[in-house]
Symmetry: C2
Subunit: 208 residues, 2 copies
């Protein structure tokens, strides 16, 4: 499988968690196998697209028999490194940063918030299980706590500067809440939280 990894388009990787979630739901319904046709129906994509996505990782199923859900889930979770914990940090302890810190959904999925940074530390930040430091101590803290993912919750004008510092500090993955498109070295992976695409896909239904 490793020999193929460098060729896999990022958009395929982006779709894998959706497959994981859908397969997990099928598993909860006690289904044993699923066809690419059925999976395609659930995700409203073509069976060809699904087979093409999976083909990047080798063969997951036998022609005509469908995929074994348990096996496929295991494989996808392994490919995505979902069976281990990842340490993360939050940069920006304003309203949004505090909301992220207080949201336990990250932890439940194995993404542990270990530290939070800001230029100045708000005095009303409650004593938490996380390290709270000025941005000047970002690099040393990230190394010490083995943090791999940075979550950016500063305002848009500050985001690029913060992201540059995260990259300098050795961070390889960034979840960006700021409404801007970061400029990044090729080796860094970034996802932007984008409520606008969601809103735009809903207004379709509003003129009926």
């Amino acid at each position: 499988m490793n020999e193929h990894e460098h060729e896999i388009p990022e958009i395929v990787i982006i779709r894998l968690p959706l497959y994981v979630r859908t397969l997990s739901e099928l598993k909860l319904l006690n289904q044993i196998t699923v066809s690419s046709q059925h999976l395609g129906n659930l995700l409203q994509t073509t069976p060809a697209q699904i087979r093409k996505d999976f083909s990047h990782f080798g063969k997951f199923g036998k022609q005509g028999r469908g995929y074994n859900i348990d096996y496929l889930l295991d494989e996808l979770r392994q490919i995505l490194n979902l069976n281990q914990k990842w340490n993360t940090c939050v940069v920006g302890i304003g309203n949004l940063g505090q909301a992220v810190i207080n949201y336990h959904g990250f932890e439940n999925e194995g993404y542990i918030i270990k530290a939070a940074f800001d230029i100045s530390i708000p005095s009303n930040i409650a004593n938490k299980d996380i390290v709270i430091k000025p941005i000047s101590e970002m690099k040393s803290t990230i190394k010490k706590l083995n943090i791999k993912i940075g979550i950016v919750t500063v305002p848009a004008p500050d985001a690029q500067g913060v992201i540059d510092r995260l990259v300098e500090s050795g961070i390889k993955a960034i979840l960006n809440y700021a409404p801007m498109k970061p400029v990044l070295p090729k080796a860094i992976v970034c996802r932007n939280i984008d409520p606008i695409l969601s809103l735009q896909s809903m207004s379709y239904y509003l003129n009926k």
Copy 2:
């Protein structure tokens, strides 16, 4: 075009804003036409998928000539109702709600936050261009201000109750930041902001 609308799968509608964004970027690069092959490359999907998505709305291009970007953009923006303003409200004025209220990206795209609701109104809420009311006045305020979209920023345990009230108040579209799966009448459209899928698609790159 209207005769087809009831048949269009939601996942196709969810993809349309991505097409709009990609086409807008091509337009900025002064491109005039784009093939389904090229669009497929940019979005890492198959040309067949793109042609199938567009086929729901009639013919956008001529075989072998590609799509005219201006025309396609206009059509997609009209289909998605992106050429008009939509009034929205925020429910939940905690950290996350305040972050959403202070984020002007919604307004720039035509989604205007007109009101915010909570059970009790925080005393430190700055005087804004929006109406701030207790949840008990939600229904009347939503009608008076012609609000069509509700943005839910309450904690997960409170979200279903708030969403029920939004539906009772006549809201047809909900952007849900709470990490839960709302139960909704069929006529209501909902999008969940989901940072976990983004994180899961990044951890793929972290073991290299």
